[in-house]
């Protein structure tokens, strides 16, 4: 199998992830989209590793680490989402806007 196929699939997967991040308001869904992106990376790495016949198997090692990282991220992410939900009763990303630039009065003539 030519390396292009898995790479194109990975790219598509990554794009879907990006779309999900952009389109979803629910934080959990955003989290899942990020997982898609990470899995695209994994697919890439494994495919390259095989294709390159890397004796050190750098790609595979990295894949393992990425999986671990993804797990950790999900763990912490869900914990944070929980905390947010407890405090705010919502997990919609675009409704968490307490922090942000305050609305300014019109520009004066200082400066």
């Amino acid at each position: 199998m030519h390396v292009v196929y898995p790479v194109v699939v990975a790219a598509l997967l990554f794009s879907i992830g990006v779309y999900g991040v952009l389109a979803r308001r629910n934080t959990i869904l955003v989290l899942m989209s990020v997982e898609l992106m990470l899995n695209a990376v994994n697919l890439n790495l494994v495919a390259f590793d095989v294709w390159l016949r890397d004796v050190l198997h750098g790609g595979q090692v990295l894949t393992l680490f990425v999986i671990v990282i993804a797990a950790a991220e999900v763990g912490i992410g869900l914990a944070i989402v929980l905390a947010v939900y407890r405090n705010r009763r919502t997990i919609d990303l675009d409704r968490l806007r307490e922090l942000g630039e305050p609305v300014e009065p019109p520009v004066g003539d200082r400066g």
Partner: protein
């Protein structure tokens, strides 16, 4: 040389001592007693240097009585009289360009002029003691006169054009300070400012003229400049620029307008500045540099003089203010000197300068005595004063006679010398000069007679007891003393008298006198100026020149100034403030993306990455 330096420095030291030391050590309290004590001390400090200087000048006369001098045109009286020439320097200031020589030079011209200056200054200082009795600011006044004298002496003796310029400008300052002596009155203040600014305008041109000469000759020393062989074009340009300064200081058309206004100062100041010294400086400098004045420049000077002498005389005829009459008369007489210079006769010019210095100082001091008595400058407030003020009457009569040019006064000889020079000059504008001068002689007779009649004859006007006391002796003595040169000085030049020409002049002058006399006899109460008919108003306003200048120069300048101030805040500073505002606007704009929406952040992030990727790949 040290003698000349001492002459210059004596009044200067007097000025410094008078300014700093008059009130010392009790400067703060301004009681009557303190004022009087300060005035006494100031008067001594002001007067004492002058006789000493005169003695030293006498020594200089003796030193310059023989010796090879500079190359003057034949018949130049001061060169004939005192042919000696000396110069010396105390050092050279390296400026990186043409060096400046700190030095003085002595010759007949400078010694004689210096004597005139010192004599008039002495008279004025003595006279002022009485004239300003009780004025708390007398000490500074006297010191300024001393400073003024010193500056004029520096001009007279300077061997270097830039050193001369120092004295030249210092005079401008002193005239500003003295004209504005009574600064409580805004009018005086304005007149002082005007005098300074108008002369300074001329002085800038003068300075550029000095540059031209100095750079062309490679030296600012007068002797070097005179000796240098300069191209005609440079000379014309340089001397024309110098004329600017001459016109300013000697109140020639078109920069003469400050002089009538300058009459706002105390009368002795008018006598000093506007008779003997500052106004003489312009004529003096032309005479000093006469050898390098090319014909075209002299022609320009001649035209200005021709216009100035007649115009000023006509203006004098219509003035109601006695001092303004004298002021316009001064302009007119200075134009005579300028005309003589234009005709190629510095000797006649300086001769007239000296005699004019004497009689005009006399006239002003007399006028001062009259004004002191009447409390007003206006002729319409005077009349019938000959009985009340006998000494001023007689001395002023002599002065007017000299002004008209009646024998045997000095004015007769000197004016005749000028007219003779004009008549016989090789100048291409000889006819214009001579004709104008002759008519002016007539007009001079007319205005002098008018002023004399209106002041001393006719009904006595009710007096304003402004100065209840009579003039003190210190004011009268200088009058009497000044009549002596007025009467006798002319005989120095008696040898050159040409009878035919003198007769013509005399007749024309008497004609003017006669016409006014006739008009006065016909209606003693009316002003003989009515003879001018429809020209009276323009003459009285000096042909509206002040208004023209106001419209053309003063107002546009002020408008421009306001425009600049507005531009500065709205455009120049506006750009600065605008860039600040722009930054703040940008800040608001960028902050729109920071309203707290994390999804927006991620979108921005991904869009940014996409943009960068595309950019990096494409570029």
């Amino acid at each position: 040389m040290t003698t000349a330096a001492t002459v210059v420095l004596l009044p200067f030291i007097g000025a410094v001592a008078g300014l700093l030391g008059s009130r010392w050590p009790r400067g703060r309290s301004r009681t009557e007693e303190n004022n009087a004590r300060a005035a006494r001390r100031a008067a001594w400090l002001a007067i004492v240097p002058l006789p000493v200087a005169l003695v030293l000048l006498g020594y200089l006369v003796w030193r310059t009585r023989v010796g090879p001098g500079l190359d003057w045109p034949p018949g130049t009286f001061y060169a004939d009289l005192l042919p000696g020439f000396r110069s010396g320097a105390w050092g050279v200031i390296e400026t990186g360009g043409v060096p400046i020589t700190v030095g003085l030079q002595i010759d007949g011209l400078s010694v004689l002029t210096a004597i005139l200056v010192c004599v008039v200054a002495l008279g004025v200082q003595v006279y002022s003691v009485g004239y300003l009795r009780g004025d708390p600011r007398y000490p500074s006044y006297a010191a300024f006169i001393s400073l003024f004298t010193s500056a004029m002496l520096l001009v007279v003796f300077a061997a270097d054009l830039l050193v001369l310029y120092v004295g030249w400008e210092l005079m401008g300052l002193c005239s500003y300070l003295l004209i504005g002596h009574w600064w409580e009155d805004r009018g005086n203040s304005r007149a002082a400012v005007k005098a300074f600014l108008v002369t300074r305008l001329g002085d800038v041109a003068f300075l550029f003229g000095i540059f031209t000469l100095g750079f062309a000759a490679g030296s600012f020393r007068i002797a070097d400049v005179l000796a240098a062989d300069l191209p005609e074009g440079t000379l014309v340009a340089a001397t024309l620029l110098l004329l600017g300064g001459v016109a300013g200081k000697s109140a020639q058309v078109p920069l003469h307008t400050w002089l009538p206004d300058a009459m706002a100062g105390p009368t002795p100041i008018s006598a000093l500045i506007h008779a003997a010294t500052m106004v003489a400086a312009g004529i003096f400098i032309v005479a000093r540099l006469f050898p390098i004045f090319p014909q075209p420049t002299l022609d320009v000077l001649g035209v200005l003089a021709a216009v100035g002498m007649l115009g000023a005389a006509l203006a004098a005829l219509a003035q109601d203010d006695l001092k303004r009459v004298l002021a316009y008369s001064t302009i007119s007489q200075l134009a005579y000197m300028a005309a003589a210079l234009a005709a190629g006769s510095p000797g006649a010019a300086i001769f007239h300068l000296m005699s004019h210095g004497a009689f005009k100082a006399l006239l002003f001091l007399c006028a001062g005595a009259v004004i002191h008595h009447v409390g007003s400058n206006l002729l319409s407030h005077m009349g019938g004063l000959r009985r009340v003020l006998p000494i001023p009457f007689w001395t002023m009569t002599i002065g007017f006679a000299a002004l008209v040019g009646l024998p045997p006064t000095s004015g007769f000889f000197s004016k005749d010398g000028v007219l003779l020079a004009l008549e016989h000059s090789a100048s291409p504008i000889r006819l214009l000069l001579y004709g104008s001068a002759l008519i002016t002689v007539g007009v001079t007779g007319a205005y002098a007679t008018r002023a004399w009649l209106r002041g001393f004859f006719g009904e006595q006007a009710p007096l304003e007891p402004a100065h209840g006391h009579a003039a003190p002796p210190t004011m009268l003595w200088p009058l009497v003393v000044l009549t002596v040169p007025t009467l006798l000085f002319g005989f120095l030049g008696a040898g050159d008298l040409a009878l035919g020409s003198a007769a013509v002049t005399l007749v024309v002058g008497l004609l003017g006198v006669a016409i006014v006399l006739a008009a006065w006899r016909a209606a003693p109460a009316a002003d003989p100026a009515r003879l001018l008919g429809p020209f009276r108003a323009p003459c009285e306003e000096a042909f509206y020149l002040d208004r023209v200048y106001d419209r053309l120069v003063t107002r546009p300048t002020m408008a421009l100034a306001l425009l600049v101030v507005r531009t500065d805040t709205s455009v120049v500073d506006g750009a600065v403030r605008g860039s600040g505002q722009l930054t703040l606007r940008l800040s608001r704009l960028v902050k729109l993306a920071q309203q707290g929406n994390a999804q927006l952040y991620v979108t921005g992030l991904l869009a940014g990455v996409l943009l960068i990727v595309v950019g990096a790949v494409v570029l």
